[in-house]
């Protein structure tokens, strides 16, 4: 048999049937659901009198729309003040009951952002195909699973048939060589990659991330990288299985046990691209060249090193880019040539499926420890990715560190990453955010987002503007 990429292997092992015109029926091992993109799918099933094909292959949790204040959360679903949000969360509860789907409801201690709890529980496993009505499903690729976002019609399709009609994507390898300098994180790596290949650079591809830098990252760091594959246009991002993957999974609640564990591990170890596998495109970056990144515009490709300046649209590669840059600068209220470190900030958000895991919170806490939030920062939120991440952080005393520095310690959820709940920016406010999208209005009407790593966001909170994290001593 000819050599295969990891993506080829995952595709082939889930191929139910080749259909006409180059499409295929692909089997789906695991389907995550949340409250925002599932109601219309359940309604569709009801109208057609259909049931779930394999209810046990689904798992649900409300995350996009849930409040993060303890006062609202202490009363479960009934405590949600916004009546529209409350209906949507209740609707998920009811739908899961009706269709026999396991749900971590809003008051379950294991509740959290779907892309955080999947791996945390060991539901996400190497070799799986995983989908969810959310584009950041690419996160799960960090464990060697083929995972991507789908729309609501496809949510309904997967519920009803356990399959999707798919067209195979092309293979791209993004190789990050060498080693990262101290203070440079997984978030900086993926922002640098998107800055290089652009927001549509991966369209039509599945990206496998490889090279010494990716291998050196923790599983959580790899999740940050794969999470933002979609911001480079690729529906799915992948990292090959190694010993880190296997030790991450061992002992997690839903991971295989006993003899099944041995069997699974033997298969998982084969989930790497063959040595001479052919990729349709290869992109290389040098880890040593990557410095902490800050986005200055309204697309994740609009990034600059923290040591740099807001770029001049006149220097853009072509007219279309020039127009985009001008539009972005106007929206962001920035002028070309402004040093990134001079951008004044109003809020800080540490959270989201990109950066709300325990390592992210540790990195942020280390920076704010012994310091205070700067006077020009109106609000700095820390929103853990799950109830278990929150509990772990509290056990380590991180909550006390954040609170002592003047940051708010919240309940888990998507929060200000997409601002569907009350956590929003005011028009014109600049926010240092560990989330994944800096689109116009993403964090609130007229809000201005700057994407950064957790350590950079924490430093921005205590200094009131961006600083090069490499120059900030830990106290």
């Amino acid at each position: 048999m000819s050599s295969m990429t990891l993506y080829d292997k995952l595709w082939n092992s889930h191929l139910v049937k080749e259909l006409e015109n180059g499409t295929a029926l692909l089997y789906i091992d695991l389907h995550f659901l949340h409250e925002v993109t599932s109601p219309q799918a359940f309604e569709g099933l009801r109208l057609a009198g259909r049931r779930a094909w394999r209810a046990s292959a689904n798992m649900a949790t409300p995350d996009h729309n849930v409040p993060t204040t303890t006062s609202e959360r202490s009363r479960g679903v009934d405590g949600i003040v916004d009546p529209v949000s409350r209906i949507q969360v209740k609707f998920l509860d009811d739908n899961c009951k009706d269709f026999g789907i396991e749900e971590f409801a809003i008051d379950d201690p294991r509740h959290g952002i779907v892309h955080v709890i999947g791996p945390e529980q060991g539901r996400t496993q190497p070799g799986m195909t995983i989908v969810c009505g959310d584009s950041h499903t690419s996160t799960h690729g960090a464990l060697g699973a083929l995972a991507h976002g789908i729309g609501t019609s496809e949510v309904e399709h997967v519920l009803a048939t356990q399959c999707l009609v798919q067209k195979k994507a092309k293979n791209m390898l993004v190789q990050v060589n060498g080693a990262l300098k101290p203070g440079v994180t997984a978030k900086d790596v993926i922002l640098a990659i998107i800055g290089k290949i652009g927001t549509a650079g991966g369209t039509g591809y599945t990206i496998e991330f490889g090279g010494e830098v990716i291998r050196s990252l923790s599983i959580e760091g790899r999740m940050t990288v794969c999470n933002m594959a979609i911001e480079a246009g690729a529906r799915a991002g992948l990292v090959a299985v190694d010993e880190k993957t296997i030790s991450y999974l061992q002992g997690r609640p839903y991971a295989p046990k006993g003899e099944l564990w041995q069997q699974a591990v033997a298969v998982w170890r084969t989930l790497v691209s063959d040595k001479d596998a052919k990729f349709d495109a290869v992109v290389e970056l040098e880890g040593d060249d990557i410095v902490p990144q800050v986005s200055w515009g309204t697309s994740p490709e609009m990034v600059a090193p923290v040591t740099g300046k807001v770029p001049d649209p006149a220097l853009a590669a072509n007219d279309s880019k020039k127009g985009n840059y001008q539009q972005a600068l106007k929206y962001m209220g920035l002028t070309a040539g402004t040093p990134i470190q001079d951008i004044k900030l109003d809020r800080v958000f540490i959270g989201s499926c990109t950066n709300s895991r325990i390592e992210d919170l540790r990195a942020a806490a280390a920076v704010v420890k012994g310091r205070k939030v700067a006077s020009n920062i109106r609000e700095a939120l820390v929103v853990p990715g799950s109830g278990l991440v929150k509990a772990q952080a509290e056990q380590e005393g991180l909550d006390l560190v954040f609170k002592a520095a003047g940051l708010q310690w919240r309940e888990p959820g998507c929060s200000m990453c997409l601002a569907m709940n009350a956590d929003q920016l005011e028009p014109g406010e600049h926010c240092a955010s560990t989330s994944n999208r800096n689109f116009e209005g993403r964090q609130g009407f007229g809000g201005r987002t700057h994407l950064v790593s957790p350590a950079m966001a924490a430093a921005a909170a205590v200094f009131g503007h961006f600083v090069d994290i490499r120059d900030v001593p830990l106290l």
């Binding site: 049937k17 925002v36 993109t37 259909r50 209906i87 729309g151 927001t199 039509g204 529906r235 279309s320």
Partner: protein, 201 residues
């Protein structure tokens, strides 16, 4: 209706506050909400009477009733929200013409009977120029013939995958089509269970 902007994301097409609905309809009045109105839109809000942005294309009298959207590269990037095609459809857009689209958005449109046409950048640019220069400029899309008819009587050919064309022309139910392969799915599950029993434990 020409929307001269690259990398239009799905947050731009339909902002998140409208995603709280548990229905599939009624999103049209909030299509491009942040660009189209001058105030901040709220869910379940009556939109007649909201201050309009006179510069935004959908508010210009000449584009009222448009069913074809002319757009730039990487249209529909970002979130997987199907509310984006639902909003386009509810507004009355049946077809989009652009140089390229984001993958998830592309699939979501097919599921909702919206035809996405890919033309090369030069051709799209020319259509933008001609639309701007000629009030009342109208294109006529014929999916069966795979042609776009221009006001001067000339036509542009476009490609569409045969399977997508078939689904669009016949308004087929995707799930029903897949259910025809139910035996193949069961057979796959059976052999797969032997190879990966831990997934069925």
């Amino acid at each position: 209706m020409p929307l001269d902007r690259a990398n239009v994301d799905t947050d731009y097409i339909i902002p998140k506050q409208f995603l709280k609905s548990i229905k599939r309809t009624g999103f049209g009045k909030n299509l491009f909400d942040e660009a189209r109105y001058l105030d901040k839109g709220l869910p379940d809000q009556e939109c007649t009477g909201r201050p309009l942005n006179p510069d935004f294309v959908s508010n210009q009298p000449r584009y009222q009733g448009a069913s074809i959207l002319l757009a730039r590269e990487n249209f529909g990037c970002g979130s997987s929200r199907e509310h984006a095609p639902w909003a386009l459809d509810d507004f009355g857009i049946r077809c989009v013409i652009a140089p390229s689209y984001a993958d998830i958005f592309f699939n979501n449109c097919v599921k909702n009977g919206i035809l996405l046409i890919v033309l090369d950048e030069k051709m799209v640019d020319q259509l933008f120029q001609e639309t701007a220069a000629t009030p009342g400029y109208t294109l006529n899309v014929d999916l069966a013939a795979q042609t776009i008819g221009k006001p001067d009587g000339s036509t542009i050919k476009f490609d569409v995958e045969a399977s997508r064309k078939h689904i669009l022309l016949n308004g087929l139910d995707d799930i029903g089509l897949t259910m025809q392969h139910a035996d193949a799915i069961r057979a796959f599950e059976k052999s797969y269970k032997e190879k990966a029993p831990w997934l069925f434990a």
